[in-house]
Symmetry: none
Subunit: 214 residues, 4 copies
């Protein structure tokens, strides 16, 4: 059985395990991440693991939860210090990509969750999307964003961030070799923001046929 630590030492040990798990899951994936690897990375005895976690799934769920909390925190913090909606949006995405670069675990782990812990997977996406929805609703209220179903737009934004991040943060450029995390190139970021801004902007769309159609 697992239990919450009852001493300072225990708290430290538990934290070490959680951190190690993030690293191990990120580098070899869920299935090749053995408890032994995790405890070795944490420099802790094998049995110690089971003092604080029920098993592999349990620590996986906690890692996902933890990463999710942190990425959302990073995003909202970044957005807070922005002057207007647009800046907030840029700051949010920047923070998202930066976090992705620093914690490739986020991506790699979440994509595994489909079969490992469907609940964790949904939790992750839903929470972030809910943040977008809030932002979009607020912006709609002030007219900064055109009338639209914020739900659909939010999932679209999530998707854009997800794949742009995958492509430019996690994948190395051309070779299929080991991915080296890094920032999204500036021009890609700007193009992406353009894409999003136009999608959300109020007013008539400008003639997809070159003409307003109506």
């Amino acid at each position: 059985m697992s239990a919450a630590p009852r001493t300072a030492r225990g708290t430290r040990t538990r934290a070490k395990l959680l951190a190690a798990a993030e690293t191990v899951f990120a580098s070899v994936g869920y299935h090749d991440a053995s408890i032994v690897k995790i405890t070795e990375a944490a420099e802790v005895g094998l049995g110690t693991f089971y003092l604080y976690f029920q098993g592999k799934q349990a620590i996986f769920d906690e890692v996902v939860e933890d990463l999710n909390r942190r990425v959302r925190h990073a995003m909202t913090e970044a957005a807070k210090s922005a002057g207007n909606r647009l800046e907030a949006e840029r700051a949010g995405f920047k923070a998202f990509f930066r976090f992705t670069a620093q914690h490739p675990a986020l991506y790699r782990i979440v994509r595994q969750a489909e079969f490992v812990s469907p609940g964790a997977l949904r939790m992750h996406y839903t929470r972030i999307v809910n943040g977008y929805i809030e932002g979009l609703k607020a912006a709609q209220a002030t007219g900064e964003v055109r009338p639209m179903d914020p739900d659909v737009a939010a999932w679209a934004l999530m998707g854009i961030g997800e794949l742009i991040g995958m492509r430019w943060v996690l994948w190395e450029d051309d070779t299929g070799a080991q991915p080296v995390p890094r920032e999204v190139p500036d021009h890609v970021f700007e193009e992406m923001m353009q894409f999003i801004e136009r999608a959300l902007a109020p007013g008539q769309p400008h003639g997809t046929e070159g003409q307003p159609h109506g």
Copy 2:
């Protein structure tokens, strides 16, 4: 060692194995899909598997390749019969979602590929994205789409399709229960197309730079 089948009977056996593998991978994921399960589903002896495939990874790669070919085929076929770019785009996404609904394996398998076969993962995304890039370039040439980096836009489209598909095709509405594949609701599809059209349309965006757009 594996080998290409040399008789009609062998060809049939190989095909049965491939089909069984798609089903098994889709329902239990890569790691819980044992060779025994696959051969049982294919109604074939265990040893027979190794007559046609080098191992588990090898058949996985082939399944991904196969699904990828089929989804692209479905998309291009659908687009072909469209009258103009916009219709082609709609038809392409429709086909993509329909395929997703009919072959949840695509999603489930691809998301596993991150650690199982990174090459297959990249192949899958890259090929689809390349299709988008072609389409965007052509549309830019005729002025139907505004000047932009088609690479970035293509990945954005891929992301939108991916997450909208995940959310509305694979997930059941609110409960965390077993997902029931189905079509994307009409209004979601329309909202999504609006989003995309505005993002791609030529002309000035409206009031996103703080200017009054009166």
Copy 3:
């Protein structure tokens, strides 16, 4: 290292552990009885266990010893208040079955002892059998019991009590469901006593050698 308690508090703690051990051993058996379970049942810290007992085996031996002492005490006390040998015998068996009903642990634990602690097993049986031997010898001296090897008879009595007790005290009637401890039914007890009395009674056996017994 373990040690005898040096304070009243310590004595109490030790007793709590012993009582808890009896319960736990009886309900889940030796191997599934973990020290943690015992200390939890005793409401004592895990480490405390090793203050009073050298290990799992040690406390097991003590539990067996304790139960053995108590069952023999119950048997001799019951026999004491009897008027004659026959009554004493009846009272002894009655007490044995009653104890078995109240402490199923005795049975369950002893049967495990074969591999856990062969010494404890022998001690248990030998002590009880020695009691029988004493009784038989005394009865032989007065002619109440026929000449015979008291050793063999004593082990036979032990066996009779053991299996009759197992069958009618520990097992529920016909179903394989959870055993419900209870008393031996009267008629079974009487039949058993008949069996024993005839086996021990002095005089010629009747017609077992093929002679007509007139």
Copy 4:
């Protein structure tokens, strides 16, 4: 999953495992009998075990069943060749003790079954006892055995055999050292038979008080 062997080779392998299991269970007991020990004794790969048995419990149950069948077979065979009831009885017990001597596993395993597999435990005792009951009923019909509840008598006989066997077949004489299986000494056997004959013989018991009690 386990399965019945489908080839001659498989049948041989399964039998080797069963024989090895009997030996291992008998020498170290259920809990210290690991699958590794069993497969090593059977000179078979570890994984092979799970081709034929679901797990440790499953093979344990089969070993008990097998031993039970064999001991009953030995007993009935021996009894068959006897001229009369008394001889049959003697032959049965002799066979029982001989089997015990040659297969100490029977004893040792059954005594463990209490917690390991209560069903197997009951099966074992019940089947043997049922044999006794049949015999007693038949003898009662011919008047060779006095009127009595054959159920109670049968369990008493079982108990006598069990403990006499334990004491003189399995235990070494005085030391607590490793038990060396051997036959029951003649005089013990004769005393035991005397005990039983008197218990079962028809006719008045001879004055437990030295007198018929009227």
